[in-house]
Amino acid sequence: MGERDGIPISINELNKLRQIADKARKNVIKMQFYDHSVHVGSSLSSIEILTTLVFRYIRDSSEKVNKDWLILSKGHAAPALYAVLAEKGLIKEDELWKIQSIEGLLQGHPEVFIPGVDMSTGSLGQGLSFGIGVATGIKMSGGNGRVFVIMGDGEQDEGEVWEAMTHAVARKLDNLIAFIEINGFQLDDSVSEVKPKDFLQDVWKAVGWRTFSCDGHDIKSIVDAIEEALKSKKPAVIFAKTVRGKGFPPIENSKRQRATPDVTRQYLVDS
């Protein structure tokens, strides 16, 4: 158990986490000034989940089996992870503005040489299998580490997710918590247009996972879901309803990943 597990979140902590998320959100939007190609929309949908995990739940340790692991399987949301890690002090804020530049530390998708990154990701569908390996290794070694994996709804198209979903149940992993962000969009179209996924939660449940839901932008809702998931004796998955581009009206709730520099500048000036 983590030291915060089971402790109800106070108004003060809630406000603090909201402030951190707001700052990270603004920094992600700002990052596209420096590199227009970063995935802003997908990043903004992950901000509160990442903030909650990094600031309330993830425990660090020099021992690999006694630390918590954070796997951003939807690696294109890397700017959100970097922005939150910068708030945590693991990455210098100046590095954020050098994202994807040749002399910068921060890659377009997460790499393990970046502080706070536990798995190199970027190719969808791979994070959960890796998480199962880590969670299994932790249990075999008698460690107390937990594994948190964040996936997208479009990512659920990948066959490996099915392979891993059924595998985790076979391993009886109670130290594994997956998030599936339901922001409704993938690269080309809305998720419902490409492959409808209304059945998704039923499938995970039928396969043997404990399933939970939350509002992925409401930190209190996220905390409540995690607290319940942590009590599960089976692998737990949290379906988090999110909005792509959340908090950035020019692209909010659309498949667009970014706005023009002028529109972005105006937004930041106004906000």
């Binding site: 299998s129 199962i132 290794g137 075999m140 392979e163």
Partner: protein
Amino acid sequence: MLQGSISSIREAFGRTLVKIGEEDKDIIVITADVGDSTRGYYFKEKFPDRYFNVGISEQDMVNFAAGLSAVGKKPVAVDFAMFMMRAWEQIRNTIGRMNLNVKLAVTHSGYSDSGDGSSHQALEDISLMRTIPNMKVIVPADAADVERSLPVIINENGPIYYRMGRDYSPPITSSMNYKFEIGKAYVLKDGDDLAIMGAGVVLWDALKAADELEKMGISTAVINVPSIKPIDEATIEYYARKTGRIVTIEEHTIYGGVGSAIAEVVVNRYPVPMRFIGSVTYGRSARSERDLLDYYGFVPETVVKKALELIK
């Protein structure tokens, strides 16, 4: 230590793996539902807590192994060569990119799954695996070579693709006594006029061809190159200089495989004429691997013919 008491490559693999597992408790064997066929299952019989069948899901197997290695375990992912390729992108993007200590041990490579036909005959895997940064690629010549090399492979830190056939294992190295080292080639027979280089069970045909060539007065060296990556550049250059001509042989496509790897060294260090023996088509079903090798021309006569093209 003389190897060679086992006559099947997969048997040698399964039994040797158990021996290694006795010494190192961090070794974990994982398979995608081919534990029995690969003989990885022997590990389960001895160490049931350190053996996982993830089901028919190769991509999951590879990243599961990656996760285990990330917390200090030493996973050995065991599969048919063909189906390990199904997870090439996972191997590249997770294991390769993170340089993880995962061993990919495959059986049924080349034509060795003779009966199942072309869908099960992996003739492209060496090419694919050697392109991955951080990945080492090793191809033992016979069952004795498996017994000799597997402990070294498992104890080496970092990702390794270890490629074996099924049962067919003519005596290539079983009468030899040497320590296996990654990155080293081994002289099976010395000679001055021509060098035959290659990997795997087809080296037996190379040795037979060398005997034929000797009868014609052509002094022929035969070099076992089990370490495709890293490759023994010094030995390859030495024999390029010494003999002036090289024939390569592999139970694999000629595009990007062992012959290509040797050619890259030769062109860089001492260019000499070369000929390549390998596959250029998909396979087909047959009752035995030997039937297929004969059918596709992996026979001493082909080696002699290619050699004479260089000698004339």
